[in-house]
């Protein structure tokens, strides 16, 4: 019996990549609710980084405030836990000072679009080589379920008890309009797609946004009667429409659906490269 256990433990150490990238001194399980999609996204990020073979010192994780922004605390990379909504400016500074680093910004919908809305659109416009992973759960989870900029119309939250009157933001379309060069949307049900998309986003030169639609069953799911994490994951499966199929659909058919896949992948001049050109020109470097 002991031999079976020993072999299991040896194989376990070999088998999974994910545990190698977790901070050894952190207490697990994480602070997130049972079934929260943040952990799923974290696993996808780890596997994407492992696939690309980046070393731990090469990757910088920057986050703001929120449930999703707890993620760099658990990951064993160089990390920066910053003020609310200002993850992208800090990341811009890191990337600008050390352009060889891979800067990943983990942000939530309230963090990126409400308090950090300006920073978000200007990072997109500048096209600096940062990968932003926006975990969109349609609500402010950490502070008690207040309505966020992505809370859909007529949806319930603790600050919209009679249904949301406002229109909501579509983060991917906002980023595309602001000038981001790689934009993709995925959900926590489609984990292999998410992993592939994060890999593409990390390899892409320029600002890349991956919008991961996640489940907040504790607030959004409970107030909108969407059920437990499993019911919400199955709902994402039903709502998801691949981008290739969505091209042939009318706007009425796409009402309330989630268009998943790579929505934009174009090449534009990158900010750090352009700045280096200016520096070289004025120093007389040829």
């Amino acid at each position: 019996m002991a031999t079976v256990k020993e072999t299991n433990q040896a194989e376990k150490q070999k088998s999974d990549v994910m545990l190698q990238y977790l901070r050894p001194k952190k207490k697990f399980p994480s602070v997130w609710c049972a079934g929260c999609g943040n952990g799923t996204v974290m696993g996808a990020i780890i596997r994407a980084i492992d696939k690309l073979g980046y070393s731990k010192d090469e990757v910088v994780m920057v986050s703001g405030i929120g449930c999703s922004s707890r993620m760099p605390v658990y990951l064993d990379f160089s990390s920066l836990h910053t003020t609310h909504g200002r993850a992208l400016p800090y990341a811009t500074g890191v990337k600008f000072a050390k352009p060889h680093l891979k800067v990943i910004v983990i942000t939530g919908d309230g963090d990126a679009l409400a308090i950090g809305g300006n920073h978000f659109i200007h990072a997109c416009r500048r096209n600096i080589d940062i990968t932003a992973i926006l975990i969109n759960n349609y609500i402010y989870g950490m502070t008690g379920g207040q309505g966020s900029p992505t809370t859909p119309s007529k949806a319930f939250s603790t600050t919209t008890p009679y249904g949301n009157v406002e229109k909501h933001f579509n983060p991917s379309e906002l980023a595309m309009a602001a000038g981001a060069t790689f934009v993709g949307r995925t959900t926590v049900y489609h984990v292999p797609q998410m992993e592939k998309m994060i890999t593409q986003a990390l390899e892409h030169k320029g600002f890349s946004l991956v919008e991961a639609v996640s489940n907040c069953h504790t607030y959004f799911g409970r107030l909108n009667r969407q059920g437990d994490p499993v019911a919400m994951l199955k709902m994402f499966k039903d709502l998801a429409v691949p981008a290739a199929r969505a091209k042939n659909m009318t706007p009425e058919e796409l009402e309330g659906k989630l268009v998943t896949g790579v929505l934009q992948d174009i090449e534009k001049t990158e900010f750090c490269d352009e700045y280096q050109k200016v520096v070289d020109a004025h120093r007389g470097v040829k």
Binding site: V4, N8, K12, S15, G35, V188, V191, V230, L233
Partner: protein, 87 residues
């Protein structure tokens, strides 16, 4: 409590604690029950119904021979509690 009573209890109710029967060889998946939060995702999404919930809702590998190593359970696990035993 006699043996028959205990047997009757386990038949009607789920087992009190998740336990794997090692007599049928090593399990296809390792489950870290200290990290598991009993969110039910692995039990619900498994296409082969390999898992059964115990009394706390944590997964037990009830049908280890049905596991095809499709990776769905440990890819979806938000708490890194399931790891493959093969790869």
């Amino acid at each position: 409590m006699s043996d028959s009573e205990a047997a009757g209890k386990t038949d009607s109710k789920p087992a009190r604690k998740a336990k794997y029967d090692y007599s049928s060889g090593p399990p296809p998946l390792n489950i870290n029950l200290k990290w598991c939060k009993a969110c039910n995702i692995c039990i619900a999404l498994c296409p082969q119904q390999v898992f059964e919930p115990d009394r706390d809702g944590k997964p037990v590998i009830a049908r280890p021979d049905d596991c095809t190593q499709c990776t769905i359970c440990w890819v979806h696990c938000p708490d890194f509690a399931i790891t493959s035993n093969y790869k």
